[in-house]
């Protein structure tokens, strides 16, 4: 009985631990006659570990932002910081005959909604994560800081795309 408890208990406890630390779930559903569904759960700790060891494994130039982009990073940082401190509100709304785009700041998120005749896209950008994704003054992406920020976006729908019968959703649980 004790053996059975250990055999079942250890993996369950491991799973529970990993799940409690967070899971990034990619859910792809394809519609139509050959409908299929792929769900890829990636434990957040794995993603964080991969990001943390990236500087040691990946070539330095792969983790460096091109010089021409780097000169705009200061502006991006200032804008993101100002947005994070700003009150909530609808920042941009574009209404065309067939499409509507709305960008709004809601709490800690920048929410982008694109509503079209066939396609609906919803992206929630955590401002803190976006800030951490910006490179340092040397142009290097601080993967460790990014890994840390990932933990702060749990229970968030990051991306949701409806394209006809197809549906893609990425969320952090």
């Amino acid at each position: 009985m004790l053996k059975l408890a250990i055999i079942l208990g250890v993996p369950i406890a491991l799973l529970a631990t990993v799940a409690s630390l967070g899971v990034v779930v990619v859910d792809v559903r394809e519609g139509g006659p050959d409908a299929s569904r792929i769900v890829i759960p990636v434990p957040l700790v794995f993603a964080q570990a991969a990001l943390a060891i990236a500087p040691a494994v990946a070539p330095i130039d792969k983790l460096r932002v091109p010089a021409e982009a780097l000169e705009h990073m200061g502006l991006a940082r200032e804008v993101l910081e100002a947005l994070a401190a700003a009150p909530d509100g609808e920042l941009v709304r574009v209404e065309e005959r067939d499409e509507q785009v709305v960008v709004a700041k809601e709490g800690r998120f920048l929410k982008v909604r694109v509503t079209g005749k066939r396609e609906n896209v919803s992206v929630n950008v955590p401002l803190q994560l976006a800030l951490q994704a910006l490179p340092g003054e040397d142009g290097r992406i601080r993967t460790a800081a990014l890994a840390g920020a990932l933990g702060g976006v749990r229970f968030t729908d990051l991306v949701e795309v409806h394209d006809g019968n197809d549906h893609v959703r990425v969320w952090v649980w």
């Binding site: 000169e71 705009h72 200061g74 502006l75 940082r77 200032e78 804008v79 910081e81 100002a82 947005l83 401190a85 700003a86 009150p87 909530d88 509100g89 609808e90 920042l91 941009v92 709304r93 574009v94 209404e95 065309e96 005959r97």
Partner: protein
Amino acid sequence: MRKSILAGAGLLALVALSAPAAAQTGTPWLHVRVEEVKDATKVAVNLPLSVVEAVLKASPGMIEKHGRIHIGHDHGLKLADLRRVWKELAAVGDAELVSVESEDENVKVMRKGDLVQVFVDQKAKPGKDGKKGKGAEQVRVEVPTSLIDALLSGEGDEANIEAAIGELRKRRGDIVRIHDDESQVRVWIDEQNTQTPAGK
């Protein structure tokens, strides 16, 4: 029972009070609205002035660390000259500064109270066979004199953007309105975080 009703009524009152306040953020927002009739396109941009300030401050090459734009010597009018002209105009008080009347358009630049008003009325070109002409355009720009004062408070060929933003923070209402056959543009500042129907 009575307590519950009172509590419910209190909650409802709170919700009712907080609902209109939800859009009022207490901080100034810069709004831009562009409507194009031909493409049935509407663009609305609402930015807290703090974000506008961050963009202006961080724009590389354009603004120095101290929030000043260099106009430079390549342009026709140096900022130092503009500053001198503005000082002279301030002494004059309310006046029609520029008035151009031509077949195509009328332009007026006036100083009225604490505003500099620019009115441009472009006349429509006559249409063929008695049809309504096209090309009419109406531009209304209202700039507070305090904003120009602030902008020109730098030294030499520098415009003081930081001081100008400070003035914009105090400003409420329309800044620019442009109407033509195909589009409407409006730029204004208020404390709403969205463009309400009343603000359209």
